[in-house]
């Protein structure tokens, strides 16, 4: 009986032991399974964060490209600078004052950075987890010199932006610094070629205006048109035509400088102004106080000089000569002709089109202004006897009969 009881008890113990082992094993596997699932979910979360990061970097990369295209288009249209007026920068003001590489880079970088940070500010992702992206503090164009190696492509880098993503208690911070290659954008090619053209063009425009000043001799002394700087087709058509021929010739030089079948340059005479001051002037020199068509601006176009030079009043003089034959004597007339003009030169690239809104051509425009004065209109007259006096036959003679 005791033996039977002992056997039953040991069977019970073995069974309990087996059940215990099974339960422990089963609970362990339960925990392992749960922990495995957790690990997988954790791994998935991290992988998802990494993909979000890639997505944001892709977004930023594309935004940097668009920002560069927008800024190159804008800065090119303003001759290498940015101003809210939108007027192109002056490259020639009697002299070549074209912007240097650093200046252009400065404006381009600032504008690109502005656009890029605005794109990032607009990246509010409703579906995505908590993301914060700090602004870029610097955008740099990796152009070290004016060289043809940047003609077709160049690099742009953006710095100091951080991305922070928070997903299911996983927090990841990553640098958002970028360096991308911009292809099919010939901004630096156009800048390089304009820079090459500018010194020679300045000389040609100055000497050309000096030649054109003689055309003013037959025009009114002081034209009275109301505008600031406009066409002188009505006030002095010969002068206007002479300037147009000059600009055509300088524009031809610009096209030759580019020597590129996809680039087309054109000129625009913004306006011209002229004055004539009898019995004055000397060699061709700078007209310092030209009242109109003398704007020369690096940013916003400055106010034009509104002071008009009042023409000098020359009195009519007669000279009484005692001991000479009047018909042998001569009197002369001359005048200082003053002229100024403003013109712009724009070149359009038809090889590539940019990724911008509206007109997608890259158009590089520069402003030029020339103002010169020179003694011209020289004439000599034979003196005449009137009322017993030996006088000059013209009213505005500059030298008496002598």
């Amino acid at each position: 009986m005791n033996l039977r009881n002992g056997k039953a008890q040991s069977s019970l113990l073995v069974l309990a032991l087996l059940v215990g082992i099974f339960i422990v094993g089963w609970i362990t596997s339960l925990f392992l399974t749960a922990s495995f699932s957790e690990r997988i979910i954790q791994k998935t979360a991290l992988s998802k964060i990494s993909k979000y990061l890639d997505y944001i970097k892709g977004f930023t990369r594309y935004a940097l490209l668009l920002s560069t295209h927008a800024s190159t288009k804008e800065i090119a249209s303003q001759g290498g600078q940015f101003s809210y007026s939108g007027i192109p920068r002056s490259w020639i003001c009697n002299l070549d004052i074209s912007p240097n590489l650093e200046t252009v880079k400065f404006f381009l970088s600032n504008q690109t950075q502005k656009y890029l940070n605005e794109y990032l500010a607009n990246l509010r992702i409703k579906d995505l987890p908590l993301i914060s992206i700090s602004n870029f503090t610097c955008v740099d164009f990796n152009i070290n010199e004016i060289s043809n190696k940047y003609d077709e492509k160049f690099n742009v880098s953006s710095y100091n932006s951080m991305i922070n993503i928070n997903l299911r208690d996983n927090n990841v911070t990553s640098s958002n610094n970028l360096n991308i290659e911009i292809e099919q954008n010939r901004f630096w090619f156009m800048y390089r070629k304009f820079k090459e053209w500018s010194p020679g063009a300045a000389q040609k425009l100055v000497s050309g205006l000096c030649s054109c000043l003689s055309e003013i001799c037959n025009c009114p002394t002081s034209p009275t048109y109301p505008g600031e700087c406009e066409s002188c087709k009505n006030t002095c058509p010969e002068f206007q035509t002479c300037l147009e021929n000059l600009l055509e010739s300088v524009n031809k030089d610009l096209n030759n400088t580019f020597n590129d079948k996809f680039i087309n340059c054109r000129w625009n005479l913004i306006g011209c102004y002229h004055e004539l001051v009898p019995c004055s002037g000397s060699i061709c020199q700078d007209w310092e106080d030209a009242p109109k068509c003398s704007a020369c601006g690096f940013e916003a176009a400055g106010p034009l000089c509104s002071e008009l030079i009042k023409p000098k009043v020359y009195s009519i003089k007669s000279y009484q000569l005692a001991n000479s034959n009047c018909e042998d004597l001569k009197c002369t007339y001359y005048a200082e002709t003053k002229g100024s003009f403003e013109a712009s030169f724009s070149c359009t690239d038809y090889k590539y089109l940019l990724s911008t809104l509206g007109d997608r051509h890259l158009i590089f425009s520069v402003h030029t202004m020339i103002k010169m004065r020179k003694r011209n209109c020289e004439q000599e007259f034979n003196c005449e006897i009137k009322n017993g006096n030996c006088v000059c036959p013209i009213d505005y003679n500059c030298t008496p009969c002598s």
């Binding site: 039977r4 009881n5 039953a8 008890q9 019970l12 069974l15 309990a16 059940v19 099974f22 339960i23 089963w26 339960l30 399974t33 749960a34 699932s37 997988i40 979910i41 998935t44 992988s47 998802k48 993909k51 979000y52 890639d54 997505y55 892709g58 977004f59 990369r61 594309y62 935004a63 490209l65 668009l66 920002s67 295209h69 927008a70 804008e74 656009y115 890029l116 605005e118 794109y119 500010a121 607009n122 990246l123 509010r124 992702i125 409703k126 579906d127 292809e183 099919q184 996809f262 690239d349 038809y350 090889k351 590539y352 089109l353 990724s355 911008t356 809104l357 997608r360």
Partner: protein, 154 residues
């Protein structure tokens, strides 16, 4: 009599263990099942995200422009054939969008731009689980416009 009692005890123990096992198993299986479902969903979502983010990186040969760039130019200028100048000419933006997404999801996707009233892709099939992703997409502009693009796959 005592032996019978022991047998009943063993029986009760076994039944108790079985009940405990069944209840626990129910929770484990349901939890595991929901975890698996979630995992599958996460993997599908990730794949979608992967395809969408590659849109910013992958370039069209010869043109050397990303799909995103061509797509953006087409949307903002409202043109199907996007011109890239005298050297490269035009490219059919609609075709490249269809080719790109169909290569990953066959005819099981659509791309919608509500703000521009544009739709690319195919209509979703009823009963299929649709994964939708709202993509923020920068457009060429002078005010840094960013639009919502709804991308879905099933």
């Amino acid at each position: 009599m005592k032996g019978q009692m022991e047998l009943i005890e063993i029986l009760v123990l076994i039944v108790g263990v079985l009940i405990l096992f069944t209840i626990s198993n129910y929770f484990v299986v349901s939890r595991y099942s929901s975890s698996s479902e979630q995992l599958i969903y996460e993997q599908e979502y990730e794949k979608t995200l992967d395809v969408v983010k590659n849109f910013f990186y992958a370039k069209i040969p010869v043109f050397e422009k990303t799909y995103a760039q061509i797509f953006g130019d087409a949307i903002v200028n409202d043109m199907e054939i996007v011109d890239y100048g005298n050297k490269y000419g035009g490219i059919n933006s609609t075709e490249i969008v269809y080719n790109y997404f169909s290569s990953y999801f066959q005819k099981n996707w659509y791309l919608k731009i509500p703000s521009k009233n544009k739709f690319f892709g195919f209509n979703s099939q009823e009963g299929k689980k649709v994964i939708t992703f709202i993509l923020r997409f920068p457009l060429p502009s002078y005010n840094s416009e960013v639009i919502d693009i709804e991308f879905a796959k099933w």
